[in-house]
């Protein structure tokens, strides 16, 4: 049986995206963005765009998560709205 892996991953992408904008904790948002990027990376890999997947994994899931955490570190952790 052929697993529709891209559909499963796409569902996770949408879940992560919605969760990232609705969570009040900014640190949690940063981590959810990292998860979102990693799922996108899997999607690129499934579609055969390995170079893009590599960039997404290193830039999106790696460094930008660290930048977000660094930015949260110098502001308050909970969002006001």
């Amino acid at each position: 049986m052929h697993w529709p892996i891209d559909l499963i991953v796409l569902t996770f992408v949408i879940f992560c995206a919605i969760a990232a904008i609705s969570v009040k904790d900014l640190l949690g948002t940063a981590i959810l963005f990292g998860a979102y990027s990693f799922m996108m990376c899997l999607l690129w890999a499934v579609m055969g765009a390995v170079d893009v997947a590599f960039t997404e994994a290193s830039v999106g899931a790696g460094v930008s998560t660290v930048f977000f955490v660094a930015a949260v570190f110098s502001t308050s952790r909970r969002t006001k709205d």
């Binding site: 579609m47 390995v50 170079d51 997947a53 590599f54 960039t55 290193s58 830039v59 790696g62 460094v63 660290v66 930048f67 955490v69 660094a70 930015a71 570190f73 110098s74």
Partner: protein, 273 residues
């Protein structure tokens, strides 16, 4: 106001979804991009550039101009981060820790500077006791991450990867050092001035390789003109691409470190994560 925003978001989303409906199917051989361009690259790229990874061939050779300005954009991002956040004012208050006893000194006068070394060490306001396990694991990991980053840059012609990815991985190894020890340890090893120079140097390597082609009798970014300079004229385009990828890698590494240091210490370059 919130309702208005919600309606606008919904409208834009619907329009975007409506627009994507017109896209050609994924992997459709009759889509405009697959009819002219892809065929040309797939048939000619290996023969013209001797680079098996078509993505690298397209990015660094056929569309070299595009990648050159992307590197310049990365450099500008680092520059903007530096100009916006960097704060050169000396901090007035300092905290020191007497290492043998663990007593913490709070020095309020800006002029009194204790010499740090075996007896006293600098302390941040969010200082936590250093964790031996984290430090040791990171110390062992960092050299391997850096070697992998160099492999990604050097092997970009043959496998996925290239200057951007390798540079980001190398930059994150520097960030890992700052996280596992502290920011001062990183700044002691990599000076701010060195980072700035490397960021500019990376762009200069790219533009330099592109510009050297002109006095050699070719066009800007036409690596084939460099054939008399290299030891292997048959692979001159692959070597030219390797050169520009190294430039991109250096610039991206330095810019990642600059952005991280400036964000995490709010431009003070003294304490942070």
């Amino acid at each position: 106001m919130k309702l208005l925003g919600f309606i606008i978001v919904c409208l834009t989303g619907t329009l975007l979804l409506y627009g994507t409906g017109e896209f050609p199917d994924w992997g459709d051989p009759n889509s405009p991009a697959s009819i002219h361009l892809s065929n040309y690259y797939i048939e000619k790229a290996v023969e013209q550039t001797q680079v098996p990874n078509l993505v690298t061939a397209v990015l660094a050779d056929y569309r070299g101009f595009d990648t050159m300005f992307e590197t310049a954009v990365i450099f500008c991002a680092g520059l903007a981060c530096f100009l916006l956040l960097r704060d050169f004012r000396e901090k007035k208050e300092r905290f020191y820790r007497h290492v043998p006893t663990g007593v913490i000194l709070h020095v309020k006068s800006g002029k009194k500077v204790l010499k740090t070394g075996k007896e006293f060490e600098h302390m941040d306001k969010d200082w936590v006791p250093s964790d031996l396990i984290i430090k040791t694991v990171c110390r062992i990991l960092i050299p391997f991450i850096q070697i992998y980053a160099m492999y990604v840059v050097a092997h970009g012609d043959f496998s996925p990867g290239g200057g951007f990815q390798g540079g980001v991985i190398f930059g994150s190894s520097l960030i890992l050092l700052a996280i596992s020890y502290d920011l001062k340890t990183l700044l002691k090893r990599v000076k701010e001035k060195v980072l700035g120079i490397y960021a500019a140097l990376g762009v200069l390597i790219y533009v330099g390789i592109a510009a050297i082609c002109m006095p050699m009798g070719g066009n800007f970014l036409d690596y084939a003109a460099l054939a008399p300079l290299v030891w292997d004229p048959h692979h001159v385009r692959a070597l030219g691409m390797l050169g520009v990828e190294i430039g991109v890698g250096i610039a991206v590494t330095a810019v990642m470190a600059i952005i991280y240091i400036n964000i995490v210490s709010e431009g003070r370059h003294d304490e942070g994560l």
